[in-house]
Amino acid sequence: MSHEQNKLYTTLEKEALICARCGSCRSNCPVYRVIGWESATPRGKISMAKDIFSKKNPAPVTDDFIRRISQCTLCGACSNECSTDIDIRKLWLDLRHRIAEMGKAPKGYDAIRTNLLANKNITTFDNNDRLEWTEDLDEPEALEPRAGADVCYFVGCVSAFFPQASQVALAIAEILTEAEIDFTTMGGEEWCCGFPLIGSGFVEDSKQFIKHNVEKIKELDIHTLIASCASCYNVWKYDSEEYLDGYELKVFHTTEYLAEMIKEGKLELNEMDEVVTYHDPCDLGRNSGIYDAPREIINSIPGVKFVELSHNRESSLCCGGGGNLQSVDADTASKISALRAEEIKATGATIVVSACQQCEQMLSSAIQKGKLPVRVMDLSQLILEAMQ
């Protein structure tokens, strides 16, 4: 679930005791910054978890506790700061798993699960309609699943079903076509990556999704997979290994893949007179360790002036859209994205790019609410614009 090699995790019972309650995790926690009560700090939540799971006379699992545990974007900023090197993000996932196993998962999580088990994607649309977005391409049928292609583009639920996010999928398809890459998709056989289930604590359910996707990739005899969704990428990179079982599959986020294409001279980028800033998606940056490729892409576009957000790379501030927070507390999620929008405003950028469709949705909404003169784009869209 994480690339963090220097972060440690034994068991929930032990790690909750190891937590020193020092509070280093406090200042950068986006949820605490919005809610403000000590019970919303990572140290406060772990302290309660200790009373429940690490003591001989355990405290009861209350609704208040479950609410606070679900009020988390799983952004991993707490892990980054932890003075005792606890992989706190893993601890949150463990806690959510325990809560789900007790049958006490929040209603919002149950709804996510029920829907996913029924539809295999995060929407209520038929999963066979996953390639509807391709109808805007010249040759939509070219993206139907095809065995033996060099590359499979794992589109992700958000890009497949939400019209605004579909522009990302379209941009990627156009770029790959322009660069004459032999690529395909999994079509209706692509299921949700499983990330929303992992984040809700339904780990066992997530496994059937991961297993299905891996089996389909094997059937297609594909050995390179690219994902434009940071969360899908994270699951493919860190959770699919068990099911790949030795099958050789190179997994790239689209930013890595496209940055390499630019280096190899496969894409010709024209001048753009724009000030661009970059929002690091938590699942791509902190939780997967990819910081440089997106910046290399931006800096490779002639004329673009790149400015960093005040919180960037490892210290990046979450957009508010992670960890299924919207399903249980949309208001807090929205307030977090407003914090990020303020940082974007402070840069003076005309474009904010990201590499996660969920982040882009959250930021678009916050920027619209704040009436900021800033365009929100995916890196693939920026590249496509530079190519034109």
């Binding site: 280093s24 209350t62 003075s83």
Partner: protein
């Protein structure tokens, strides 16, 4: 507090006040996991209400209300201490100051910055660094410790060796007094600035501070390996007495090196001897002079062996991670001792005798914060899930302080748990003066009661000494295998 009073505040502050027991319970603890069995019979640590004021006026409003109604008020921000400094002892109002953050004004001419009290040191550092400036010093808990909080403690840490205590760097503060009056306090006013330094929130609520800053300079970091504590002391003295004043000098004893090594947090694979770390900041010329100092101290025929500069750099980068030791726990108990460095070898020798006597590992590390004094942390592993054994182990904290006291040391910080030893921290006359100040400023005794000046009855020095010594005796006889 009566229901009417609680409702009055709750109504006034709306969603920035809470009566929820769930929320309040989180404010009845700090870093120290002290068993409820010990705490609950003696103190009312659960506040009646928690309020989050967002500006000085609101702080004053709360204080006026509390003063009028004789309600205890406990101010709290980062709450990164271990002595219940910001945990209530008599319920009342818990004032969570964490909305009072951010820089108010930067004056580059006078090289000062005015900040709201709950701004963390890391936040201030980030703000200043982006403008080519830096705080003169900061605590080793900078990511959570606040400017106001550290001033309310003793304010010695990283950078104090070169720039002095935080008190010496603060030009003025804005403080809300117990009766709700707002006052700007400087060195010239009465009360003066030094009244509030280390007062632990017992004289008023500090809301703003004007702090000196420095130019952001390049730094160089060195680690020196010494064969024993006496050579460590000689090295420290040489570093402190050299023409370039170090920014920071810190040390790790052999047992601490071993413990860190066992956990995989190794300093160049060292498990023997001691390590002194020294950090310099300044002009290129100063940094070159510093390099010469280090080269003169180290080398084949000298007492100190340098560890690679990459390791020293990494050690600096990880300066806020001392609590990693806790991974060997699950719990850690210990004492922070303000100790004359000339007595450090003897102190460490006695600590090791204690280690043998009680059959437990005692690990020491610390920062040299003035030319004469170090803040030394001596810790040991414990298990808070085994309540009785854990309570008995608490007695060893006093035993460590006893060693420190033998060598001219005293507890660093008072709060509640060190209050039985307040007579060791202050001379009798000083203590009388402090108590007089408290009386004159807080005649009703509502500001953070139970801390700093005298111990609560059950923890009076006699009871405390007797109780701890008995428990330590039990520990010695029965606890060898714990």
């Amino acid at each position: 507090m009566s229901n009417e009073m609680l409702l009055e505040i709750a109504e006034k502050f709306g969603d920035r006040a809470t009566l929820s027991e769930f929320e309040r319970s989180l404010y009845s603890r700090d870093l120290a996991p002290v068993p409820a069995l010990l705490v609950n019979p003696l103190f009312k640590t659960l506040p009646d209400i928690v309020v989050r004021p967002s500006n000085t006026e609101e702080v004053a409003e709360i204080m006026k209300f509390a003063y009028r109604n004789n309600i205890p008020v406990t101010p709290r921000a980062g709450a990164s201490t271990v002595y219940f400094n910001s945990v209530p002892t008599k319920g009342g109002i818990l004032m969570d100051l964490n909305l009072l953050t951010g820089v108010v004004e930067l004056d580059e001419k006078s090289m000062t910055v005015t900040v709201n009290t709950a701004t963390t040191w890391s936040e201030l550092d980030e703000y200043l660094n982006s403008r080519g400036l830096a705080p003169k010093s900061f605590p080793s808990s900078a990511p959570v410790a606040t400017i106001g909080g550290w001033f309310c403690m003793m304010g010695y840490g990283i950078g104090s060796m070169k720039y002095g205590s935080l008190l010496s760097q603060v030009r003025s503060i804005e403080v809300v007094l117990p009766d709700g009056a707002v006052k700007k306090v400087t060195r010239e006013t009465t009360p003066a600035l030094d009244w509030f330094a280390a007062s632990e929130g017992t004289l008023g609520v500090i809301t703003k501070l004007e702090v000196e800053v420095r130019k952001l300079n390049n730094m160089k970091h060195y680690l020196l390996h010494l064969s024993d504590a006496n050579k460590m002391l000689d090295t420290m003295k040489a570093l402190i007495g050299a023409e370039v004043i170090p920014y920071n000098v810190h040390f790790t004893d052999q047992e601490c090196l071993k413990a860190m090594h066992a956990l995989g947090f190794t300093l160049a694979d060292l498990t023997e001897g001691c390590v002194v770390g020294v950090d310099y900041e300044g002009s290129d010329e100063e940094l070159q002079q510093a390099r010469n100092i280090i080269e003169n101290l180290s080398g084949a025929d000298k007492i100190a062996n340098p560890v690679s500069e990459e390791t020293a750099e990494m050690e600096w980068e990880e300066k806020f991670k001392a609590l990693r030791l806790k991974r060997g726990g699950p719990s850690v108990l210990g004492a922070e001792v303000w100790l004359p460095i000339k007595n450090l070898p003897e102190y460490l020798e006695d600590v090791q005798k204690m280690s043998t006597g009680y059959n437990l590992g005692l690990f020491s590390y610390g920062h040299v914060v003035t030319p004469e004094y170090a803040s030394v942390m001596t810790t040991f592993y414990a298990d808070e899930t085994k309540t009785i054994k854990y309570i008995i182990n608490l007695s060893l904290v006093k035993k460590i302080h006893d060693i420190g006291y033998r060598y001219g040391g005293c507890p660093y910080g008072v709060g509640l748990w060190n209050s039985p030893m307040v007579g060791r921290i202050h001379k009798s006359l000083e203590l009388s003066e402090l108590r007089q100040r408290k009386k004159s400023m807080d005649s009703k005794g509502i500001m953070n009661p139970g801390k700093v000046y005298r111990s609560p009855f059950m923890l009076n020095p006699f009871n405390y000494g007797l109780g701890m010594n008995v428990l330590a005796g039990v520990r010695k006889v029965l606890g060898k295998g714990w």
